[in-house]
């Protein structure tokens, strides 16, 4: 069973919680990426308020921190839906019909890449390879992996989280 994302009530900005997370990385060499991962795990995204806090703690400019956050595809500037489906769009999955599955998912959910359904149930994200290239097409739903997907298996996954 797929576990869902952090609950919405947990995602609200909490300066003390963020400060504790950032402080935990103060002794690390090159602390910014580990701290950003930890913040995103806690808040479901990188809250705008975290940027000055990180800049201050690690002696960087806000522009530096913002530049890093925006560079990496993983970091979100707003929370995702309750579930996140990451569909592999890379070549080995294309060779097994990945493009057709992607079109099916987008049509059924009525969203584009990176978008969340209107009811907040699900965010659809592309991923470029999950290392499951001998058993594609593949996907990750809230951290759980799925291989050899076909239309029926995709529909069953979506029925579970975005009925």
């Amino acid at each position: 069973m797929a576990s869902s994302q952090p609950r919405v009530s947990d995602l609200a900005w909490d300066a003390d919680r963020a400060a504790a997370i950032i402080a935990a990385h103060a002794g690390t060499e090159g602390p910014l990426l580990p701290a950003l991962h930890a913040l995103q795990a806690a808040f479901g995204h990188i809250p705008a308020e975290a940027v000055p806090a990180l800049a201050h703690a690690f002696n960087l400019s806000r522009a530096d921190v913002h530049g890093v956050v925006s560079f990496y595809h993983d970091f979100r500037d707003h929370p995702a839906g309750r579930h996140v489906l990451r569909l592999c769009r890379a070549e080995a999955c294309q060779a097994m019909g990945g493009d057709g599955l992607a079109a099916r998912a987008r049509a059924r959910l009525g969203v584009g890449w990176g978008e969340t359904t209107a009811d907040g149930a699900l965010t659809l994200e592309p991923v470029f390879c999950l290392g499951l290239c001998a058993c594609g097409p593949s996907a990750m739903l809230d951290g759980a992996l799925h291989g050899r997907l076909d239309a029926a298996a995709l529909d069953a996954l979506l029925d579970e989280v975005a009925p």
Partner: protein, 517 residues
């Protein structure tokens, strides 16, 4: 007697239901009142047979697969009847031709042992290499790597021992070993498999590198798309440290080596070694101009060896069996074995470790069994998103760095992605340009902007506008990318594009629009 079952917890097996299979088998065994132990292993890499369940018998292991969760109970009945017949019974795993024909040096234990059992690892020859390396002086250990002929498995094929020697001889109070586990190429999963299936092998290889070069610390940079590999490596590092295999006094030698995992954040270009260093340092992953070489001025400005996972996991065998034994495998200047990954539309997809020299056609048609769809093979992309598409006419190319380069291709990280005759090669060429524009680090204009223009021009070709002139424009653009790019992301994008144009020109005709995605 306790019944011993083996079920992979490799990400690929999990994606195919291994967790549910394990749970159903455990429940059924409890119901039968059978004393049992379920060992969770890595995968042997026969993915069309995953989830594969093995049972220990007096005559050795017997395998069943692919065991879907609904088949778990019926397979168990067969297992309980003295590992007896069942439609999914495969017999001794080592006798399956796909495994039997391999030369498994690096993957010898993967899929067989409990990845987090140091006792299993050592019983199967683990840490013999480090013990031998510790008995040598640093320069002698480096000479061993040079003599083995080992070249980097991350793509560029640079001689590993030479890189180590440069870092060893560079001045620096601190030095680092960085393992590149970014494995961003589609069609590759060997790094993931070995980290999940035999993590102590990577730890041992990095420790040998650290002691040889005089580096006290290593980082393993793992892509965030690999949560299982990250968890297994972190757990293995804790276990190794607790046993004195990492830390201030490795194996009682009086010499220290520490390891830390760093997690990527979804940027393909961070697999490029200098962008990777910037990423560990907490910056945007931007490619640095070379020189200075990372071996001289690398992580945090210190001499740094950066090697791919597969390079580092080849090292313990070289020390336990000798450089000469290693270099006896292979052809030409490609020595040793390569863990080749068969992927995409292929009947027998998985991990195939073999000495260099096996032909592409043998790999795809014979070992891989052709396409999964049963249709004819039309194209194979070798070496990831920057690799060329080869038609079956080039299937006599031997798996060797130089032989692929001679045919305007590359072996890269050893991934082979097979496509059947339904593939649209114009679409694949467009994807390559689009991937380049999305993943560009932004430093070079041809890569950042030219790739986007390339997509637009290709769309014009496919709309039937000035086809000949626009195709010539794409060829020009490829020349500019090839010569005007700082790194292989821009520099090698012409490989997939030009190979599609050269070998599959008939696909570059007016199409319905492809831009919908």
């Amino acid at each position: 007697m306790t019944l011993r079952l083996f079920i992979p917890r490799d990400a690929g097996a999990l994606a195919l239901g291994a967790e549910a299979v394990a749970a159903r088998l455990a429940a059924a065994l409890r119901q039968h009142g059978v004393a049992h132990e379920i060992v969770r292993t890595g995968s042997r890499g026969l993915y069309w047979l995953e989830p594969m369940v093995e049972v220990a018998t007096p005559a050795g292991r017997v395998a069943y697969g692919p065991v879907a969760p609904v088949a778990a109970e019926s397979v168990l009945e067969a297992i309980l009847a003295d590992a007896g017949p069942h439609p999914l019974r495969l017999g001794a795993p080592d006798a399956i031709p796909f495994l039997k024909r391999q030369t498994r040096l690096s993957f010898a234990r993967c899929g067989e042992i409990d990845p987090l059992s140091l006792a299993d690892y050592q019983a199967a020859g683990g840490y013999l290499g480090l013990t031998r390396a510790l008995a040598m002086a640093g320069p002698a250990a480096i000479e061993t790597v040079i003599e083995s002929g080992l070249r980097g498995r991350g793509g560029a094929g640079f001689p590993t021992g030479i890189k180590w020697r440069t870092a060893a001889q560079a001045a620096g109070a601190r030095k680092f070993i960085v393992c590149n586990a970014d494995e961003g190429d589609s069609g590759t999963f060997a790094d993931r498999m070995i980290m999940e299936g035999d993590p102590f092998l990577l730890i041992e290889g990095m420790t040998i590198a650290g002691l040889a070069v005089g580096a006290g610390k290593g980082y393993i940079y793992i892509r965030s798309e690999y949560p299982h590999a990250i968890a297994t490596m972190n757990a293995a590092i804790l276990l190794a440290r607790a046993e004195g295999l990492l830390g201030g006094d490795v194996l009682g030698s009086g010499r220290g080596f520490e390891l830390e995992v760093r997690v990527g954040a979804g940027a393909y270009v961070c697999g490029e070694e200098t962008a990777l260093l910037d990423s560990i340092e907490g910056k945007r992953g931007q490619v640095r101009a070379k020189p200075p070489l990372p071996a001289i001025t690398g992580l945090f400005g210190c001499p740094t060896v950066i090697n791919n996972v597969l390079t580092l996991v080849a090292v313990p065998w070289i020390f336990s069996h000798g450089a000469t034994a290693y270099r006896e495998f292979g052809m030409g200047r490609s020595r040793g074995t390569m863990p080749i990954q068969l992927a995409g539309n292929i009947r027998h997809g998985g991990l195939y470790e073999a000495a260099f020299g096996v032909s592409l056609g043998t790999l795809v048609e014979d070992i891989g069994g052709g396409t999964a769809s049963g249709r004819p093979v039309r194209a194979v992309q070798v070496g990831g998103p920057l690799g060329a598409y080869f038609p079956p006419a080039l299937f006599d190319t031997p798996f060797d760095y130089e032989a692929f380069a001679a045919r305007d291709g590359l072996i890269g990280h050893g991934g082979i992605v097979v496509f059947d005759d339904s593939v649209d090669m114009a679409r694949q060429a467009r994807f390559a340009l689009e991937f380049c524009s999305v993943e560009s680090c932004g430093k070079c204009t041809p890569c950042r902007i030219g790739s986007t223009r390339g997509v637009e021009v290709l769309d014009r070709v496919l709309a039937g506008e000035n086809v000949a002139a626009n195709l010539a424009l794409i060829e020009d653009l490829c020349q500019t990318l090839k010569f005007g790019s700082l790194c292989a992301l821009g520099g090698f994008t012409p490989y997939p594009v030009m190979s599609a144009l050269t070998h599959f020109r008939e696909d570059f005709v007016p199409h319905r629009p492809l831009a919908a995605e």
